[in-house]
Structures are given as structure tokens and as C-alpha cells.
Subunit: 584 residues, 2 copies
């Protein structure tokens, strides 16, 4: 027996196996996951395992290594989140998200830090040795909402898309603020005196860390898109580039002390549309599937490790400090959301309702990022107290808030995600309004989001697509693109359901009628597009109305466990087939 | 800048990126890969990189770590080889393969060992200090044909299936022999005296190492199949189990000093059919794609590292020893193949031609396994000589033999892989003959391969399928299964080609005629199968003849860079559509 030799890969494989089996186990009982969020169950499994290890060895079980967390477990989850991010709601609410992420997090850090410092002044609590700076440092790590925890809970409760993106977007983008404040206070703690120039340098760092992350991410994303131009002859390594480049963007950002999370999100969102156009359909399925799989496993491992690491003797239980931490976390988050939303609502027509505000405040879950940061703290005499407080806050938010948020959403009748996809009419109107508003903004000289979106789209089709796409066609009317996209999607769904119907009927053929119905299927769509170009917009309404019975959602909401278009394709396909046969 | 922090994952990612980009680079020039095998090009890249590192640092570049090779780079390649192994030719030739792998390898080890010991006795060569045991140890590591090198060359020259499986199967299964002999001689080298009991123990170990590997592999394979029974609710982690269990089988076998290669092949071949039936189509695509991708990258990295490690000051150049090693490797392999094939041909009707024998002997390439084994040798004063000799043998076989084998195959007009797939008639006849021969063997009391195959199939459908498959139907006539499989494959290919034709016409519907053509598409195939059961075999010939125009190959030959069914599906789909429309 030579265990030493294979120990490292063997134990890693076993941990992953345990995580996967735990996941299967939960889903065997259908009722369990609908009551208790999976994250709670996994932490529970971790607690039990930690207890067993503690009982057998009589020493603290191993703590999740912060390096392993930041270098190996976090990137897959963030990559998945960035790649499947619904971009339209994200960019529509980018201002509000940034406000919550930047101002809101700073508010929380200083709020929690100063009020805990106040608590420390009470002599009865024996906490007078905890300085203001240490409290602020603690505030900086405990204030940030955790994307992993938020995702795990919010993907199961299906709130409306805007509310979801507000909480989720905030949890992702606050990473830049957390990185800066945490490192700032940590270095302040070690400095003998703090000069005012250091404070200003810290403020300047915000922009460097955040924008630097975006730039690094976009640079890698564009390189990835460019690389996939040349993979036509060896399709099999295409998926690799998506993973390699996004991971490199994360590592590079971390290397330069920028925000890795922001970088990987920028990389994923930037490369997505170009890579998808370049790689084969099978490669794309593999990319999507593997991303989901990887993030799912990482996520499971994180929660199990969180449970395991909780057990042990790393904690110093000072009850007042711990209880007040939980209370202040709740209070300052609620206050912050109220105040910020007040300003947001003043400048927006489409306001955030008070129910939504409550869910935003209540959904501020803490998770593994806080936990890893608190273990990264330099050794000082109160570190164990901070660890204990962090653990309690995480367990409180994940268990109490995570388990009660679903009943609360039901109780308050918070607006849910719409079940049905937008109709063709709606889609056409949305696009039309986008163009119209871009024009109005242009004329009125107001450079709003529509103006910028229009400019970006122009830049994209004029320059970027020519460089990054392998087969670059002349830009087509966006409505034709939409139609093509929908038809392609429909064909794939039909095929996957095992129900092969008639070939997708191409508009120009139906219109000009120069082909008999049997030959139709053989003609490639390439020729059709050539024949389509001159008078594209004529009769497009009629074609859309005749060929599209029901459109599948184009911007599917984010869910870590399913791939878009996986649910009940058979039923859809049947329905479409019946309708199509009737119409023919 | 904090490079230390991200160094390990950053450098790994960069190496993989380099390998992928090198692969893309070669395929940009279409002519290059058709003349020079990719493995040579990659070693060349490695040599250049090693030279650069050597020139810049003025010290030997890092040598490929044997642990990294055996634990991380080799398993993906072997898994891929095992999973996509064409099982029919493999089991039909299993006797010959085992003969080559076991007896042939032992023959080579002792032949090379003893004749090199003879060379060492020549005083002019200054080699008298190399003992017989050391020569045998060297023989044991240099004798084994390398699966990675063989695959890299043979997948490009497209020889006939039997020849391919003989060389490739041998290179995989000789691992057990290599492991035993290498470890045996290594421990003999360290022992003061060798007792005869040790020699007998060594012989006994053959069976333990080989059969143990098979058992470990099958155990993990069955567990994997059983696990995928329960993944219906979380499809997204299905692919994970295929990788986790096969990797665990490899690690477990290595842990117990069994043959990891044999274990992972047994695991992959054992689980394949059950896992495929349990997991979703998308999961299966992901599994196949990722396996190809991973093995492709591993393979690239191995050859690059091989090149890099060649440069440096690890070598002791004793020309006579090195030259005679190359010569003896060639001679003993040629002799071994001749002698063994003589015996094989006496017991087989379907003999191995002399051209095939030449290619088998000439295709005995050495590769990274030898290289890793020689670095794993304990330090002694002639280790550098062995390293130099191994390096030369590898470079000679990969460059000279690898580059000349394709012209030789053309020159000798070796029988190639048949381009067209077997027709329905052929397939039916093969199946019929299988049944017939099984019956004849049963009656005559001769327990040959057909008898065992029949028994295994019975055991499979009677017990294994009930335990391992999620949706277990009553066993159907194998001809119906074949037809269903072909129809499903055809539908997938049609869909992937983007050419949706009519729904697959189901036999019972065509026959009984109780459905009008429009409704046909909506009925699910489940119902059809129910209706089919009572009189399955009637008219099956007629149905097959009417519905199957041309069958795609069912047992695709192995190729590491493409997935089966990827080549020109559009042309096939068109042809089928035209034929089908005519017939309707």
C-alpha cells in the first residue's frame, strides 16, 4: 500500500465525490430542497463531518485554506455567474447596482466598524483593547454581501428579474470595494502613524482596482474571442480557451491586486457573444455544461468546508461582541438600503417598491468570502474573536435569513419572475423603443444608456466583429438576426426532444414561392440569406406572425443547476409541431 | 505585484495555454500535419523551448516530474483510449493482444537486457561496471511500447482496424508486465542476494497486478453506472461521475501497486454502455467532448515536456551503449513479432499477413512512460547513461519511425481501414453468425469467444441491466435494439446537421397503417415500442430494408482529435433526406 504517492489527487477526488453524492442525496427526497436551501443542508453535512473528525482525532479539523478558496473554488462560480448573466437587466440597472455595491458597502463598513467600536467602550464587556482600526478592519470583511450565498438562495426563490439582478449584481461588484478597504485597513493596522495622504491614496485605489479589473477582464475576453477564430480545424480544444482565458484574467487581476471577481465577470461577459459565434454547437454545449458542473461542485465544496471549518477550537466566545455584530449587520444594511433607495427612486420613473427594498436588505447574506478573509488576517490577540463573530454571522444569515426568505417572499407577495416568455410583439416593441430612445437621446443631447448602447453596438458591428468573428457577414437588420436566432433555437429544441418535424420554413421561400415543399429542406440556409438581403424589412411582420408561434425566453434567468432550454422541451416541441401542421 | 501567490495555477494555466496554441498553430498550415506527425512537431517545440530556457538560465531546464506524468497527464489519455475503444475488434483479438503484450514484452525485456550485458563485456566500450541486473532493469523500462506515442502516430495513418487494435491494445496492456518487471528488477538491484522464491513471487505478481487492475476497474465502473441511476434530477453533475470514478480506479490501482492503466481501461469499458443509457444526451456530449479535450491537452503537454526535458546536462554519452540499445530494440521487437505471429497464425484462420507483421514490429514506438520510469530509477553511477539511451531511443522511434511509417504504409499497400460503413445486410449477417457460432460452440462443447460472449450478454440482460440502468425495459430482440439505435443516431445526425427532415418513420406504424402521416410525428416512441412487442421479428427484414438507406459506422475507429459522426454529416443527411422523400 503506497498511500503517500497518490494522497493529494486521491483526497481531492474523494472530496469532490462526497460533494457530488451529497447533492444527489438531497435531490432524492424531492420535498427537502423545497423547504431548506441546499446551502444550509451542505453546511449541516459539513458540521457533522467536522464533528466526526473532531471526535476521532480530538483536535480541530482542518480549516478551509484561504488560498484554495480564492484560487480554485471561487473562480468557477464567478465565471459561471458572469457567463450566464442576463446582460440587459444588468446594464439597465448598472447605476443602482454600483450605488449599492460601492456606497452601500462603504456605508456598512464604517457603520458596523464605528458602532462596534462604541460597544467596545462599554467596560462590562471587557473589549477595550480592540482598537477602532481593528473594528473597521473587521467591518470591512463582514460588510460585503457574498455572491455564492446569494446565488444559492436567490436562484431557488424566483423573485422578479430586477430584484434578482440588484442583489446579485451588488454581491459581485462589491468585491472591488471589499478588496480595497480590507487591504487598506490591514496595512493601517500595521503602520505606526497614518498620514492623510494614505487615506487619499486609498480612495484613489477604488478606481484602479475596479476599472483595472474590468480592463484586464476585457483584454483577456477579446483575446479569447480572437483565439477561437482559428480553432475551426480542431474543434475539440475550443472549450478549453473559454476556461483558460477567464481563469488567466482572474489570476492576473489577483496578481496585480485588482479585483479578480470583476475581471472574470468582465472577461466572461465580453467574450460570450463572440466565442459563441465562433465555436461549434457541441463545443458550446460542453462549455455551458462544464461551467454549470464546475460551479455546482465548487459551491457544494465551499458550503461543506464552511461547515467543517466551523467545528474546532478557533473561537473566542465574547457574547456581547458577537450578538452586537449580528444586530449591527442587520441594522446598517437595512438603513443603507432605505437611504440609497430613496435617492435612486428620486431619479427613476420605475421605482423600487418597499417590498423589494425589504428583500434587498434581507437578502444580504454573508458567506465564504468573509470566512476566508478573516482567516487571512495577520495574527493578533483578538483574531479568534473575529473568527467566532464571522462564523456566527455567516451561519445566522445562511440559516435564519436563507430559510425564512422564501416564506417571506410568499407572504409579502413580492413580484415574481414572469413565467411566460415575452411575445414577439413585445420583443419587437422593445427593440423599436430602444432605437427610438437612442434617437431621442441623440437629438436632445442627453447621453443616457440608450445612446451609449447604440454607440457600442455600432462600434461592435463596425470593428470588433470584423476582428473577432471567423465568418463575418455584412451586418443584417437586427430583426432578421433575432428571427434567425429564434429559428435556430427552435430547431435545436425540436431535435433535442427527438421530434423531427418539417424543416424550418425560411421566410424568403414562403414569400417568393419558387421552391416546392420537398426541395425546401435540402437548400442550405446560406443561400436563403443571400436571397434575403435586398428587401429585408418588407413583410417581416407577416413572416414573424406566421412562423413564430411562441418564443422561448431569450434572456433566461440565472440558475446554477439547470441549463437554459432544458425544461420540458418535448411539450414545447409537440405544441409547435401541432400548430405548424395546422398552418400548412 | 504578488506573483508568489498565484504562481502554481498561473504557470499550469500558461503551460496548457501554450500547448493549445501550439496545436492551433500546426493546424493553421494544413500541409504540415499531413507530412510530420504532431508528436514530432510538439517535441520539436519542446526542444526549442528547452534550448531557450537553457540559454537564458545557463542551467538544465526542469525535467518532467514523473509524479505529474503518472498522476495527472497519463490518466486522461488512457481514459479516453479506454472509453472510445472499439470493443468488438478488441475482444475478438484479445488472445493475440495478450500474447504480444505479455510474452512479447517479456521477450523484449530479456532479449535487450542480456544482449546489452553482452555488449558491456567488450572492454573497449568501458562498460564493464554495468551489471546484468542493471541491464535487465534498463531492458524492462525500454522494452514497453508506449500507448501515447502509438496513438499519436497510428490515428493519423488509418491502417485497418485489426492491425490498429493489435498494436494499440498491446501498448495498453503491456503496462501490467512493465510495472511488475520494473519493480522486480529494481528491488533485486537493492537486494544483497536473490532467492529463487523471489523469482517465483515475481511471476505470481503478473496475475495479481493484471487481474487486480481489471477487478478494481470493473468495481469502480459498476459503481459509476449505479450512481448515474440517481442523477435524473441534477443532470448537470452527471459528467463528473464518469471522470471521478475512472480517476479513482486509476489512483486506487496505483495505491495497491496494481496496473493503473489496466484498471482505468476496464473501468471505462465496463461503465460505458450503462452510463450512456442513464445520462442525458447533453451530458453524454459533454463527457465525450471533455474526454477528447483533456486527452488532447495531456498528450500535447507530454510531448512538449519530453522535448524540454531532453535538453540539459542529465546525459552521459557512451555511444556504443546508446547505438546498440537502439539496434537491439529494433531487432528484438522484429524477432518477437515474427515468432509470436508464427504461433498465432497456426491457430487462426484469419492470419496476420507479413505486411501487417512488419507494421506491428515497426510501430513499436517508445515514449513518455519509458522516460518517466528512467527518471524514477534510484540514483546510481550509470543513471545518466540510461537517461541518455532512453532519450535517444524515444527520439529515434518517434522521429524516424513515426515519420517514415506513413510512406511505408503507402508503399507496402497495407490494407487500410474501410471507408464505407458496413451495410445493414452485413450487420445482420454478423449478428446472425454470432448467434449461430455461439450455438455451435455450445453444442460442440468448445468454450470459445462466442460462447462466452453469449453468456456475458445473458448475464448482462438478466442481472446487470436491472441493477445498473434507470429505465430498464424487458429485453428486446437484439435486431430491434440495433434498429432503434440506428434510428436514434440518424435523428441526432440530422438534427446536428441542421437539416430537419420528416420524423423517423416507426416500423409498426408503417406496417399497421393505423395513423395518418401528420399525427405520426406527435406520438412518442415509447408507445410505439409497447405496440411492437408481441410480433417483433415479423417483417423486420422488410422494415429494415425500407427505412435504412445507409448506416453510419457503428464502431468508429479511434481518433483523438475528432468525435465520431463529426465528419460531413450534412452530406449524409442530405442524401438520406432525398432518398426518404423519394420513397414516400
Amino acid at each position: 500500500l503506497d498511500y503517500q504517492h497518490v494522497q493529494v489527487p486521491f483526497e481531492i477526488t474523494l472530496w469532490i465525490m462526497l460533494a457530488s453524492l451529497a447533492k444527489i442525496g438531497f435531490h432524492l427526497y424531492n420535498k427537502l430542497p423545497s423547504v431548506v436551501p441546499e446551502s444550509c443542508l451542505l453546511i449541516f453535512v459539513g458540521l457533522i463531518m467536522g464533528g466526526i473528525i473532531y471526535g476521532l482525532n480530538d483536535k480541530s479539523p482542518p480549516v478551509m485554506d484561504s488560498d484554495i478558496f480564492f484560487l480554485y473554488l471561487l473562480p468557477p462560480i464567478v465565471l459561471d455567474a458572469g457567463y450566464f448573466m442576463p446582460s440587459r437587466p444588468f446594464f439597465e440597472n448598472i447605476g443602482t447596482i454600483l450605488l449599492y455595491a460601492v456606497v452601500g458597502t462603504i456605508w456598512n463598513v464604517f457603520g458596523i466598524g464605528f458602532s462596534l467600536y462604541g460597544i467596545c467602550q462599554v467596560k462590562a464587556f471587557h473589549l477595550q483593547d480592540v482598537s477602532l482600526l481593528h473594528n473597521l478592519l473587521f467591518g470591512s470583511l463582514i460588510a460585503a454581501v457574498d455572491p455564492v450565498a446569494v446565488l444559492a438562495v436567490f436562484e431557488e426563490i424566483h423573485v422578479n428579474e430586477r430584484l434578482h439582478i440588484l442583489v446579485f449584481g451588488e454581491s459581485l461588484l462589491n468585491d472591488a470595494v471589499t478588496v480595497v478597504l480590507y487591504k487598506l485597513f490591514r496595512s493601517f493596522c500595521e503602520m505606526p502613524t497614518i498620514k492623510s495622504v494614505d487615506v487619499f491614496a486609498g480612495v484613489g485605489k477604488f478606481f484602479v482596482v475596479g476599472l483595472g479589473g474590468v480592463l484586464v477582464g476585457l483584454a483577456f475576453g477579446m483575446t479569447a474571442a480572437f483565439t477561437t477564430r482559428f480553432t475551426k480545424d480542431i474543434r475539440v480544444i475550443e472549450p478549453l480557451f473559454v476556461f483558460l482565458y477567464s481563469y488567466l484574467s482572474y489570476l492576473t487581476a489577483e496578481m496585480f491586486h485588482l479585483s479578480g471577481i470583476v475581471a472574470i465577470i468582465a472577461c466572461a461577459m465580453g467574450m460570450k457573444r463572440y466565442v459563441e459565434a465562433n465555436i461549434s454547437l457541441k463545443s458550446h454545449t460542453t462549455v455551458k455544461y462544464f461551467m454549470k458542473m464546475w460551479s455546482s461542485v465548487s459551491d457544494t465544496l465551499i458550503f461543506i468546508f464552511l461547515g467543517v471549518s466551523t467545528i474546532g477550537e478557533n473561537h473566542e466566545w465574547n457574547w456581547p461582541y458577537i450578538c452586537f455584530t449580528v444586530i449591527f449587520c442587520l441594522i446598517w444594511r437595512a438603513l443603507g438600503v432605505l437611504v440609497l433607495t430613496f435617492f435612486v427612486n428620486r431619479f427613476h420613473v420605475n421605482t423600487i417598491t418597499s417590498k423589494d427594498q425589504f428583500i434587498i436588505a434581507y437578502g444580504g447574506l454573508r458567506g465564504a468570502i468573509c470566512f476566508s478573509l478573516v482567516f487571512l488576517l495577520p495574527d493578533f490577540h483578538r483574531k479568534k474573536l473575529f473568527i467566532a463573530a464571522t462564523t456566527v454571522v455567516i451561519l445566522f444569515t445562511v440559516f435564519v435569513q436563507g430559510m425564512t426568505i422564501r416564506p417571506l417572499v410568499d407572504l409579502l407577495a413580492v413580484k415574481r419572475k414572469r413565467e411566460s416568455a415575452p411575445t414577439v410583439g413585445e420583443q419587437i416593441h422593445i427593440r423599436f423603443l430602444d432605437h427610438l430612445l437612442a434617437g431621442i437621446e441623440d437629438i436632445s443631447g442627453h447621453w443616457g444608456q440608450y445612446y451609449w448602447k447604440d454607440k457600442l453596438e455600432y462600434f461592435n458591428s463596425k470593428y470588433l466583429q470584423k476582428i473577432l468573428l471567423r465568418e463575418y457577414d455584412q451586418p443584417k437588420s437586427s430583426i432578421v438576426l433575432l428571427y434567425e436566432k429564434l429559428e435556430r433555437k427552435h430547431a435545436i429544441e425540436l431535435a433535442e426532444a427527438g421530434q423531427l418535424g418539417h424543416a424550418p420554413s425560411h421566410p424568403s421561400l414562403l414569400r417568393s414561392g419558387f421552391l416546392c415543399s420537398n426541395d425546401r429542406t435540402v437548400i442550405t440556409s446560406k443561400k436563403l440569406e443571400d436571397a434575403l438581403n435586398p428587401d429585408v424589412l418588407e413583410n417581416i411582420q407577416e413572416i414573424l406572425a406566421r412562423n413564430l408561434y411562441r418564443i422561448r425566453r431569450t434572456g433566461p434567468a440565472y440558475n446554477r443547476h439547470t441549463l437554459p432550454g432544458e425544461t420540458e422541451p418535448v411539450a414545447h416541441a409537440k405544441e409547435i409541431l401541432i400548430l405548424r401542421h395546422k398552418s400548412l
